[in-house]
């Protein structure tokens, strides 16, 4: 099955040449490539083989898989998903226990060096017992599976940056995939959850070109994470004009003004929500009236209140100020008294000069 090319597979399903080109057009735009790339994509796909994909779920909530699977069919996402060979995904596969693990080992053996590993969830290091699959710790399973992989795709903020399990005080010692895997390309597709289109866009890129897309400094594909929410936000003109919603139900909120004062983290968040949107391009969080939480950024859970503006200090500054006032008063008083002492010492050491002293000196100099 895996020897089949994508084009052959589509043909088998009765997709015409025209349909195939339409599919390529959709794919090209999905990967955020210019229209001039359509023929390149088509050529690449005609010979592309179905990659085997092993999906590992560690400390996660299944939200990322849901995000992908709940996207309505038939979509380009759905098509992509159909055309990878998903050989192991323990939420979806029928097999359980030993049979399931056998499927993983089988896929690894058959496609050694060529399969893709998708990971959702973080890996606990504090105690391997916090999360195991078939008696195997997450760390062991990751190392074991990644050994023969062509690349790893870390789907969701938990596997990309540690996510919720990594939030302070991080009881399980959760870490990201990229902090463990150093000898294979790791593509981070963060988001809580990531936009399904982005997940499939990355898969499509690999499928089409057999290579990984260009990544930013946090390991995210630049095509999807290259711009901040704030830069592409349709509420941005209000931000620039200084028009802000003050509460979630005031006039400003009703008029669609900027949500900065309500804690929007759009200015520090790099993701594609503002352009790709959610639920078949229906809407996205800021459009529905709630500020961005910054879900595609490392440690966004620890970045202070979701409802505090980004410019507001986050620590216990009132306490710091209280201590400062107390010690300032003490130090100031000490400095004040020291000065007073200097002053009175100067006064007491002051010797008066009389007219006689002056004339005496004059005489002296006259000599």
């Amino acid at each position: 099955m895996n020897k089949q090319t994508l084009f052959e597979l589509l043909q088998q399903q009765g997709v015409s040449r025209r349909g195939f080109l339409k599919y390529c057009t959709a794919l090209t735009s999905l990967m955020a490539l210019p229209a001039s790339m359509i023929s390149t994509v088509a050529q690449a796909l005609e010979s592309a083989r179905r990659p085997s994909v092993i999906w590992l779920s560690f400390q996660e909530c299944t939200g990322c898989a849901e995000s992908l699977l709940r996207s309505h069919s038939p979509t380009v996402e759905g098509l992509i998903f159909d055309h990878i060979s998903l050989d192991y995904q323990h939420t979806l596969q029928a097999a359980a226990g030993e049979a399931a693990e056998h499927a993983r080992e089988q896929a690894m053996k058959e496609n050694y060096g060529n399969y893709l590993v998708v990971v959702d969830g973080s890996i606990p290091l504090a105690d391997p017992g916090y999360s195991t699959i078939a008696g195997m710790s997450n760390l062991d399973m990751l190392n074991d599976t990644v050994a023969g992989a062509a690349a790893v795709i870390a789907v969701g903020t938990c596997s990309a940056y540690g996510g919720l399990p990594h939030a302070a005080p991080n009881p399980t010692g959760a870490v990201s995939v990229s902090s463990l895997i150093k000898d294979k390309p790791v593509i981070n597709v963060p988001g809580c959850p990531p936009i399904p289109t982005v997940i499939t866009g990355v898969l499509a890129h690999y499928l089409t070109f057999g290579s990984i897309p260009e990544l930013d400094r946090l390991g995210r594909p630049k095509v999807f994470y290259g711009q901040s929410i704030h830069d592409r936000c349709y509420r941005r003109p209000f931000y620039d004009k200084g028009l802000f919603a003050e509460t979630f139900d005031d006039e400003g909120a009703k008029k669609g003004w900027c949500l900065y004062r309500l804690g929007c983290k759009g200015p520090m968040t790099y993701n594609a929500c503002a352009t790709l949107k959610w639920n078949q391009q229906t809407s996205w969080p800021v459009e529905s009236g709630h500020g961005c939480l910054g879900c595609s950024e490392p440690d966004f859970w620890d970045a202070g209140s979701f409802y505090k503006a980004l410019s507001i200090p986050d620590g216990d500054y009132a306490r710091a100020a209280g201590y400062a006032v107390a010690s300032g008063v003490v130090l100031g008083a000490a400095a004040g008294f020291a000065n007073q002492k200097t002053k009175s010492a100067a006064v007491s050491q002051h010797t008066k000069v009389s007219v006689d002293d002056f004339s005496l000196n004059q005489k002296d100099t006259n000599k």
């Binding site: 901040s228 970045a303 200090p313 130090l331 100031g332």
Partner: protein, 223 residues
Amino acid sequence: MELFSNANDFLLWTRGDAFNIAIGLFIIGILIRLLEIFLLGRKQDFSEPRGSEWGPGLKNIITRSVVDNGTFKRAPFVVVVGYIWHICFFIILLFFVPHIELIHAMLGLKWPGLGSQFIDASAVIAMVALLAMLWHRLTHPVLKFLSTFEDYLVWLVTFLPLLTGYIAFHRMIDPYPLALGLHILSVELLLIVFPFTKLMHAITLFIARWYTGAMMGRKGIES
């Protein structure tokens, strides 16, 4: 990169611990300086007052903001550029919405902000004014001779928040959390340096003006 695993950590640090340290040192410094002045006291004045102190003192705080002709004739450049700089600086400080949010969070006061084009223009003018003043200081022989390290330090810590703020606003450094973090850090530097340098004039000017006005008022002199 070792200290902070990513730019967001750095931003969080500047908004958290670093801010606490800076605001703490700022308050301690201001209190030391003020108590030093007030505790020194004045000898009691036994003469019969000829007028009130409070009214003329408060009036003097305002009237002294107007330049007198003599000063203007002697140093027109310093007066004009000085005014432009201070006005632009206060526009940015008090009417940029993220700044208002900060004041609101700390003091509970809130007012409407200005559109970014005003803030942006003010920032550019303020930076040009500061650069012009530095150039003036470096080229004016007497001023240059009188300038100390403190003068240049004060210039730098005032200029940096403007520059980093401008960079953050226009997202000229990638990633944005780094740009914003640098801006906040530069303001924290300003807060720490403030009480111990001539920047303190922003507070002591009120005391000095009030005192002059009050003394004159007591003696029955029009100030």
